[in-house]
């Protein structure tokens, strides 16, 4: 399918659920759009009227600071009205289902639902219940597409390309929606992805999803262009997936010694929040190889692009 530019729009979706369902062209289109929005943040008046009069609801059923704030700010910069639906004090705790809650909120007239939910598949469920746009801001261990997009954006911005890069994702892959979204996006754009961690956190089944699975971080570091360190949950110790923070740091922590084993221009990423001194040493997290804060900045541009494109598609479909 190679339509001439302008005939068929690249982006026709009103929802963003996963990166798996997107084509390479769609992903690149979001990244390109985000680049133009990144420029908006550098203006003295950081607002465009693209979503004026639209209502965006942040529906977060899980703890989140940066993703929630990032979506809120993205919507505000597009001039939308933003409502925050917090998980506590909500009727879901009285037994109302997600779908019922969403229908009630939609009845008040909203255009976007940004959903963070502990259950995999929750965002897809929501699209079946409501007519407004649904943006998945993280569903269980399944997907976190805007994190995947902002990681892709940051890599492309730093390296100038994604195709052909060696990217390692290190840590608790099994329980990570970020790892799954990164993996899908990176593979679509032609990167080679290596998942690193103990077998208890990096199941061999990921090989069938197109990644390499490796248990020795030191062995692969010298070849990597990008190393994405995931947050480790100390709660996993009691479920016997790794024995102690001390051992995890020795085997899989990124510190200055390991950084020296990397290429000089390696990009160290982290989706945040960082356990400083555990998966990432503080001096590496704050050092010149790290893109942690830039990822947060880019997240805003990427989320503006996603809201903008989905809104356009929804309006187009309605017209």
């Amino acid at each position: 399918m190679t339509p001439a530019a302008g005939e068929t729009p690249v982006w026709t979706r009103k929802h963003l659920l996963t990166l798996r369902e997107l084509s390479r062209e769609e992903i690149l289109y979001i990244l390109d759009t985000a680049e133009s929005f990144k420029e908006v943040s550098t203006r003295s008046i950081k607002k465009v009227p693209a979503l004026r009069g639209r209502v965006v609801v942040n529906m977060f059923f899980e703890e989140s600071t940066r993703t929630r704030v990032s979506f809120e700010l993205a919507a505000q910069r597009l001039s939308a009205d933003v409502i925050d639906f917090t998980e506590k004090m909500s009727s879901t705790q009285k037994g109302e289902s997600l779908v019922d809650t969403a229908r009630n909120i939609e009845a008040m007239g909203v255009d976007f639902m940004i959903l963070r939910h502990p259950s995999a598949g929750a965002a897809l469920d929501l699209t079946r219940a409501v007519d407004c746009c649904v943006i998945n801001a993280g569903d269980g261990q399944h997907a976190h597409p805007t994190q995947g997009l902002l990681d892709l954006f940051t890599i492309r911005e730093t390296k100038g390309r994604i195709e052909g890069l060696n990217v390692a994702i290190v840590g608790d892959i099994a329980h990570s929606r970020v790892a799954r979204s990164d993996l899908q996006g990176l593979l679509k754009l032609g990167a080679k992805v290596t998942l690193v961690g103990p077998p208890t956190l990096v199941p061999a089944a990921f090989r069938q999803l197109g990644a390499s699975v490796v248990h020795n971080l030191d062995a692969i570091l010298p070849e990597m262009d990008v190393v994405n360190m995931l947050r480790i949950q100390k709660e996993r110790i009691t479920s016997s997936v790794f024995p102690s923070v001390r051992e995890y740091v020795q085997l899989f922590g990124m510190d200055r010694a390991r950084l020296k084993r990397c290429k000089p221009d390696v990009l160290i990423m982290h989706p945040g929040p960082v356990n400083r001194g555990i998966e990432l040493a503080a001096d590496v997290a704050d050092g010149p190889s790290s893109s942690i804060l830039r990822q947060v900045t880019n997240g805003l541009a990427v989320r503006m692009a996603v809201l903008f494109l989905c809104q356009q598609a929804a309006s187009g479909a309605a017209a």
Binding site: P198, P199, A204, S240, P243, L251
Partner: protein, 427 residues
């Protein structure tokens, strides 16, 4: 480094080189310098090995040294002295000490003690779970860095299948052996001897063979999923041997070991209520003994071990039901394996040495098991014909709990050389 030693005119049996011939062995700088018929040159010491078997040092991969915590039963010093007297140049010690060896600090303690006082090499086996409690993973990676060679919760098989699978997956990352004491605790109750007609007659609660087999079966399934190198400790039942045989035939990385008492004695030995016949796994039926012997014959069983488990006289005096499980074995194992396996021609000498030296070295991924020039000079000299009587009172172990006291046996280690140094000599 000891002086150079020429071991002259012995029957050199080295399975690692497919070698079985009369010849000389020259040791210099703690290493094997030369081997073969014409290797004779001047050395500072010459040992006449005529009519002796010259073998790579024996390695016992299942020993309880009791230190730290139970030094009245055994210490690293006394246990390795017993090992050297039995012909062993290396032992792997189990982590069921007090406190258990479940951290790098514990492993370092054992290695530091061994460097000071041990007669043999000591390879610590680290615990798989913290406190050997079967719940949370122990610091396997840190223990490995400190010098642990394999991992086991020893006397307590991991009951929780989820914990067991994750532990196997985690340990598979390091490629080291996962050793399991296979016994489903929910099936054994207060059992103290093999469940069967003898236990029924004696009125003693039984340890059923199926308790071992259930865990072996489960573990083989889990190990297949996890990809770990899985080793069944002290196999004792016909059913378990058959399960390992089938897993091997299916290409799985499953190995096992057997003790001398499970090749020579049956549960009928318990009729005197002598606690020296109480061990875990217990003495089984004649059918199980025959199956273990057959498992050695056909290669299902990889290694021969002692499960050397010292207990004080006081502890063993408590009576059969109350006494702790376990018997000592380091100073009696070699002649007993000869009696059970070589004398009745189940296996030949090269195979015996393979199972007592080369194979354990492979499984534990430690040096040894070979007399190749350049290898550390860990050598055992064996008089295969010497007839002697096992005497618990003359053993170097701190404990005396052996059912083989007074038994007349044939074959004995007459010299044990570790790293070119003579650590035991009968003469």
């Amino acid at each position: 480094m000891g002086a150079s030693i020429l071991v002259r005119g012995g029957r050199i049996v080295d399975p690692s080189q497919n070698l079985d011939e009369v010849g000389n062995l020259l040791i210099a700088d703690g290493k094997v310098a030369a081997i073969g018929r014409t290797a004779g040159v001047d050395a500072e010491r010459t040992i006449d090995a005529k009519d002796l078997i010259v073998a790579p040092g024996l390695i016992d991969m299942h020993v309880h040294l009791r230190e730290p915590g139970n030094e009245e039963r055994e210490t690293i010093e006394s246990g390795t002295a017993a090992a050297a007297a039995g012909g062993f140049t290396a032992v792997a010690c189990m982590p069921n000490t007090s406190p258990p060896l479940d951290s790098d600090a514990g492993i370092e303690f054992v290695l530091r003690q061994a460097a000071r006082v041990a007669s043999t090499r000591v390879y610590p086996i680290g615990a798989i779970t913290k406190g050997r409690a079967g719940k949370e993973l122990a610091e396997v990676g840190l223990m490995l860095r400190a010098g642990a060679v394999a991992f086991s919760d020893d006397g307590d098989g991991i009951m929780d299948s989820g914990v067991c699978l994750r532990a196997m997956q985690y340990i598979s990352m390091f490629g080291r052996l996962f050793i399991q004491h296979c016994e489903d605790k929910s099936l054994v109750g207060r059992g103290c001897m093999n469940a069967g007609p003898t236990a029924t007659r004696l009125g003693l609660p039984g340890l059923p063979a199926i308790a071992e087999e259930v865990m072996v079966q489960r573990d083989i399934t889990l190990a297949r999923q996890s990809g770990c190198r899985y080793h069944v400790a002290h196999i004792s039942t016909a059913g378990a041997v058959e399960l390992v045989r089938r897993a091997k035939a299916a290409g799985q990385m499953v190995t096992t070991e057997v003790c001398p008492h499970h090749l020579l004695l049956t549960d009928e030995a318990c009729v005197t209520y002598d606690p020296n016949y109480k061990m875990n796994p217990p003495l089984r039926s004649q059918m199980d003994v025959s199956a273990c012997v057959e498992g050695v014959r056909d290669g299902t069983i990889d290694c021969l071990v002692t499960d050397h488990a010292p207990h004080s006289h006081q502890d063993k005096e408590m009576g059969f039901q109350e006494a702790p499980f376990g018997i000592i074995g380091l100073e009696s194992a070699l002649p007993l394996f000869i009696e059970a396996l070589v004398a009745p021609r189940v296996i030949d000498w090269p195979r015996l040495i393979h199972m007592l030296s080369t194979r354990p070295a492979e499984l534990l991924q430690v040096p040894g098991g070979s007399l190749r020039p350049g290898a550390a000079a860990d050598v055992t000299l064996i008089d295969p014909q010497m007839e002697w009587t096992l005497d618990a009172e003359r053993m170097r172990s701190r404990s005396r709990n052996t059912p083989f006291h007074g038994r007349t046996v044939r074959g004995r280690a007459v010299m044990t050389i570790v790293g070119g140094e003579v650590r035991f000599s009968l003469a």
